[in-house]
């Protein structure tokens, strides 16, 4: 009987994992960085790391199906003559026509309108489908100014000056040639079929003092009627929020790194910016320090998925949240019904993120006339409205359990954290302790 040394189990490196190895091989073969859509995919501290305490002897709950729990929110009352009044504190984030198909944009407008909330244009101008089907439409004012015009500015319900987005703080837009159809090209004043790398900086202002003058101009053009939002990526949320307030914003939008993009470099998405959870408390703190909390509204986006996420964001001091990726999934993005076609593209339902290539089997991130027929704007809009309704009911369920007759009465004291990281970021105690890392000298 011969003795054989016991073999070890083959072990893959945690550092050089399968994805990393495949990316090295891909880079070596192509000589170009990987471009994709969506937001950060790595695991990050998130709302899952927070829990609500619910009612107890010292707090009493509201009856689930009988007692009212208000969900409405008013955005832009600081300076605007016509603030935005929403029935629910969940809005649809900016996504461009060009990146998305016309039917997808229409569906977003329909769903938002059915739910009493707003939707937002994107880096490609305002389309008739979108304006026509959106009761409340936020018009983005972007560095590229593609399609920016006086008529659309005046028929918008609010204006969002976009400084950055969570997936790529400091990066501009990117729309590759295969998605530049005749209609997209015309709206952007560019030749058909060429790559569009939109600017990362605004062409006619730099810094907070200029921004203040730019906001004044937009207010003067629109006769001080419309709320002016300022959207920033989750880079320096305390200072960005404070500077936006100083510049005169009615609403500050902070987008964390889980927030999606139509297309940018993978290395950018995964390595620049802060998680949504880490952005909220600094932004709220800036508003509180300036005495502007609840006077200037704060919208947070990036990885909002359900009513619990909404409730947690609101409890941390946010006025409303925005959804992008989740809204696209409600419309039909990454649906397993197209699995065979995802496989042909070398991916699988749930992982498809090559939105820039314009071959989306679900017909959402495409300009292909055949593929986009797969989106029925009425049915998809209905699905989005259903989803928004569920999120709202979920958030109300939690708020009532915490004894709150309004979602906006949720507070940090209703929360604990499961991890030290989340406790430090959210500024709430680690579960089972009264320890808030970074507070009281610890």
């Amino acid at each position: 009987m011969t003795y054989r040394n016991p073999p070890t189990t083959p072990r893959k490196s945690a550092t050089f994992d399968d994805y990393t190895l495949s990316e090295i091989r891909r880079a070596a073969a192509t000589g170009i960085y990987d471009i994709r859509g969506a937001g950060a995919k790595r695991k990050l501290p998130h709302f899952d790391d927070l829990l609500f305490l619910g009612a107890s002897i010292s707090r009493y709950p509201l009856e689930g199906y009988r007692e009212r729990c208000d969900t409405s929110v008013v955005l832009g009352s600081r300076h605007a003559k016509k603030p935005i009044e929403l029935k629910i504190p969940i809005t649809i984030a900016g996504m461009s026509f060009g990146s998305l198909s016309g039917p997808a944009k229409e569906a977003l407008g329909r769903g938002a309108t059915l739910s009493g909330t707003s939707t937002t244009t994107g880096d490609g101008g305002m389309t008739e489908e979108e304006r026509g089907h959106s009761k409340q439409l936020v018009y983005q004012y972007l560095p590229s100014r593609y399609g920016m015009n006086l008529r659309d500015l005046r028929r918008a319900d609010a204006i969002e000056v976009v400084v950055g987005q969570g997936a790529k703080p400091g990066g501009g837009g990117m729309l590759l040639g295969q998605k530049i159809s005749d209609r997209v090209a015309e709206m952007r004043t560019l030749p058909k079929g060429i790559d569009q790398r939109s600017a990362s900086r605004h062409p006619d202002w730099t810094g907070p003092d200029d921004l203040e003058i730019k906001i004044l101009e937009l207010r003067e053009i629109t006769d001080w009627e419309k709320p002016i939002y300022v959207k920033v990526g989750g880079a320096r949320p305390y200072y960005d929020t404070a500077l936006a307030v100083k510049a005169g914003a009615d609403v500050v939008v902070v987008d964390g790194m889980q927030g999606g993009t139509a297309a940018t470099q993978e290395v950018f998405i995964e390595n620049v910016g802060q998680p949504t959870l880490a952005c909220i408390r600094p932004a709220v703190q800036a508003l509180q320090d300036l005495g502007m909390h609840r006077k200037v509204q704060l919208i947070v986006s990036g990885g909002i998925r359900n009513g619990a996420d909404v409730a947690k964001a609101l409890a941390l001091g946010v006025d409303a949240v925005s959804i992008g990726t989740a809204a696209l999934v409600a419309l039909g993005d990454n649906d397993p019904r197209w699995e065979a076609e995802y496989n042909e593209l070398g991916t699988t339902a749930g992982a498809y993120d090559d939105w820039h290539e314009g071959r989306d089997p679900a017909g959402i991130t495409t300009q292909d006339p055949e593929l986009m027929k797969r989106v029925d704007p009425v049915a998809a809009g209905r699905r989005l409205a259903n989803y928004l309704k569920v999120m709202t009911l979920e958030a109300q369920t939690i708020a009532r359990a915490c004894g709150k007759n309004s979602l906006h009465n949720l507070e940090p004291e209703d929360l604990v954290a499961l991890t030290i990281e989340a406790a430090a970021m959210a500024g709430v105690p680690l579960a089972g302790t009264n320890w808030i890392p970074g507070k009281n000298g610890f």
Binding site: L150, P191, D204, I221, D223
Partner: protein, 243 residues
Amino acid sequence: MTATKLSKAATHDHASRIFDLDVSSLRELNQALHNLTPGSNETAWEVLHPKGSHSVAVGVDQPVTIDVRGSVGYYCGGMNSGSTITVHGSAGPGVGENMMSGSIIVKGDASQYAGATGKGGLLVIEGNASSRCGISMKGIDIVVHGNIGHMSAFMAQSGNLVVLGDAGDALGDSIYEARLFVRGKVDSLGADCIAKEMRPEHLELLQGLLDRAGVTGVKPSEFKRYGSARTLYNFNIDNADAY
């Protein structure tokens, strides 16, 4: 006397409607301009004592004439749609930004970003323009009698930029389909911007622009034309050094 009374009196005399920014606010001025409806008789406006105010006569969408007697701050005539604005002085940053149509004439100099992202209309600067003149222009025509600064026509998409004097560094960097005509020297061209042949149709186009801008005694043949080499239109890794 309030500005409103003063302006009404002026209207009765069929003279210009006068807005004195010493007595009335910028808000009143812009609101009065926005209240104009098609066919209004108030077609001539005069703005006194602008003293560097920002956002003078922004978002005007009726074909009126507005004479601004003095220098203005940022964004004068921003998003102008059809009006003719004459600044009898100098203009701060972003004069005529995102202009849709109409015309703006600056008798003095203009600061940075003149005509930024303009979609249409004509911007004439009788003095010099600073850096980033015509940045991201999308159909506007800009005629500068003097010189322009660095990074002008950066990412310029369409329209025409005419410079009777010199251009600074990195002219037309990352330019798309805009046409640049420079009579003097160009310090340097930006990425993907090259000198191009001046064909008869360009000479004709340029003559038209000079005529519209009231330029006399200057021949189109004295200019050189610059535009896109179109090598950066679709990403190619071998061009990465150009960025």
